[in-house]
């Protein structure tokens, strides 16, 4: 009976290709952060209330050169919010938009004048073109124009 011998050396290229695909390039050597600060809009408050947004989009220049073409992993989003003291019923939410996806987002309610870290979006795609928007919604508190008392800020924690 003839037994067919398998020589590992013949298949080493296949092994390497298989290893490459299972590897998926997810080796992250550097931990980094990007912090952005912005004042949300001045809100013209009418009887039905009003909305002020602060936008924190990520551009090429926000990332090190070395990240070009490399896989990046979001590790958390740290947030700090301001508030509109002249208004009533202020509600705040943080919405994450995947890279270049202005239509797809998930939002999470947060607080005015508070801070925290969210890990809701860690498994979503991250990189250039991703963004966070903080939305403040207020109701009429007597002032026609409502000004934020400070700024909102977002810090993206990521690895590459």
């Amino acid at each position: 009976m003839k037994r067919k011998m398998i020589c590992p050396c013949k298949y080493r290229f296949g092994f390497l290709v298989a290893a490459l695909f299972s590897f998926n390039g997810a080796v992250y050597a550097v931990d980094a952060t990007i912090t952005k600060t912005a004042a949300p809009d001045v809100i013209t408050v009418i009887s039905i209330g009003g909305t002020g947004l602060s936008f924190f989009g990520l551009r090429n220049t926000d990332f090190p050169d070395a990240t070009a073409g490399r896989s990046m992993k979001l590790r958390g989003i740290e947030w700090r919010t301001t508030s509109y003291p002249q208004t009533l019923d202020e509600k705040v939410e943080l919405c994450y938009f995947r890279p270049f996806q202005g239509l797809e987002n998930n939002c999470r309610p947060i607080w005015p004048s508070m801070s925290g870290t969210l890990h809701d979006f860690d498994d979503l795609p991250f990189g250039r073109g991703a963004s966070v928007t903080i939305k403040h919604h207020v109701k009429d508190g007597g002032a026609r124009l409502a000004y934020p008392v400070g700024t909102d800020s977002v810090t993206y924690h990521y690895s590459y």
Partner: protein, 440 residues
């Protein structure tokens, strides 16, 4: 402080043990001139002696009960029984078709409502039935009739309804009612008024709420608040875009997990609404109620108390007739800051290690952190690139190459070890060089 378990979760059925008044109400068969009661088929079993509508109502009641008790089996059996019986009678098919057409005509304004005169609990069964026995337009027609009868406790339904609509349009839309805006929330419509996303049925119901609240001398901001919450739910694609704040992924800056809840009084109110009998027949969207009354979704959006919402759920349900007047406390609106109205629990036993970066970019300014310095990195402040002076050149692979060191396997690297950067020489970019060396 130890972990405090969230007070209640809506993932399980809170209605499981609560009998539904609608589901358990004895069915009153129509005895007027409607065709439903007049056609019987003798000798084909007990069920065939009932009218088509009565049997549909019975099946809808069973489905309602199954929904409440999560007895899916019964629901399925009811559907099978329905389908089997339906196939027996061509006449019934014609009758069903005629009524469906009448309902469509009613919705289009060309015909009368086929369900006019039915009891409220029967209307509620039809409107909420998702078993397929009734067409969408039939359900809408039942819903319209239910709404028309909801304000029957007042002197003049038509006048009150018209007045309520005017109030609703004035308060929510500044006098000009827009078409229903389409969810989901996107970057383009984030600033749009949440009221624009209220559906036609929402607007009809809110009109009745305004009429009722005004007649009762209530502060109409109480209704505004309900409208805002419902509109926000619609804006977020019926809540599907909102993440639960109690999902274990929210932390304070010290790394401790944080959860939120309603104040005790509101938590009790939420429990009463969700476990009460009115929820099974209320016109207030039950999906909205279950969403908003989950503290993970609602606690950070609740800037009043839930008592007025509870009154509306009851008033616009099959039990509404028993609620004659609103409490005097609703003559004013209670606005409470979110930060004063939410119970925040910090779980000291659940802590994440703080994220320590090698390099930071704060509003465009690159900085090498102590951790980065300790790892031997040098920062190019123009590009943010980290240079590792001790790093081996790309074309000089280390002698181990992942073969001799038992720790340097592909699996080890994919496990995302937090090794010092100096030892983490394997990168996607030079993996091909590794392959080339390996093959040569």
């Amino acid at each position: 402080m130890n972990t405090i378990v969230t007070r209640f979760s809506l993932a399980d059925s809170r209605l499981a043990s609560v009998p539904s008044s609608a589901a358990h109400s004895p069915l009153v068969l129509p005895v007027d001139g409607e065709s439903n009661a007049s056609h019987t088929e003798g000798g084909t079993g007990a069920i065939s002696t009932l009218s088509t509508l009565a049997r549909q109502l019975s099946e809808a009641a069973e489905r309602a009960e199954a929904r409440d008790t999560r007895k899916v089996t019964r629901d399925t059996l009811a559907s099978e029984a329905y389908l089997a019986t339906k196939a027996q009678s061509d006449y019934e098919g014609a009758e069903l078709l005629a009524r469906a057409r009448q309902a469509t005509g009613f919705i289009d304004g060309a015909d009368s409502n086929p369900f006019k005169g039915l009891a409220r609990d029967q209307l509620s069964l039809i409107a909420h039935d998702e078993g397929g026995s009734f067409t969408i337009n039939e359900r809408r027609a039942a819903w319209k009739e239910l709404q028309a009868s909801a304000a029957s406790g007042t002197a003049n339904t038509a006048n009150v309804s018209a007045s309520g609509r005017e109030i609703m349009v004035s308060r929510l839309f500044l006098g000009i009612e827009p078409p229903v805006a389409k969810a989901p929330m996107t970057m383009l419509n984030m600033s749009q008024s949440a009221y624009d996303f209220l559906t036609r049925d929402d607007r009809d119901l809110l009109s009745q709420m305004y009429a009722y609240a005004q007649a009762q001398g209530a502060d109409l901001r109480n209704v505004d608040n309900v409208a805002g919450l419902l509109g926000d739910y619609r804006h977020h694609n019926d809540g599907r875009q909102v993440l639960n704040a109690n999902n274990g992924k929210g932390y304070d800056l010290e790394g401790y997990m944080v959860t939120v809840d309603f104040q005790a009084e509101d938590a009790a109110t939420a429990s009463r609404i969700l476990n009460g009998s009115a929820i099974s027949s209320t016109l207030v969207d039950r999906g909205f109620l279950r969403h908003f009354l989950d503290p993970g979704y609602g606690a950070l959006k609740n800037t009043s108390d839930l008592a007025f919402l509870e009154q509306m759920v009851i008033k616009f349900s099959a039990e509404g007739a028993a609620q004659i007047s609103l409490d005097r406390k609703f003559a004013s609106y209670k606005s409470i800051s979110i930060n004063d109205n939410v119970v925040v629990t910090t779980h000291k036993n659940v802590k994440l290690h703080p994220f320590e970066a090698h390099v930071t970019n704060v509003d465009g300014v690159w900085t090498l952190t102590e951790k980065g310095k300790a790892a031997g990195y040098i920062l190019d402040k123009t590009t943010g690139r980290l240079i590792e002076p001790t790093a081996r050149p790309d074309d000089q692979a280390p002698p181990t190459l992942g073969r001799e060191s038992p720790k340097h396997t592909v699996m080890d690297f994919s496990a995302d070890h937090r090794d010092p950067p100096g030892t983490r020489w394997l990168k996607p970019g030079n993996l091909f060089k590794l392959m080339r060396n390996f093959l040569s």
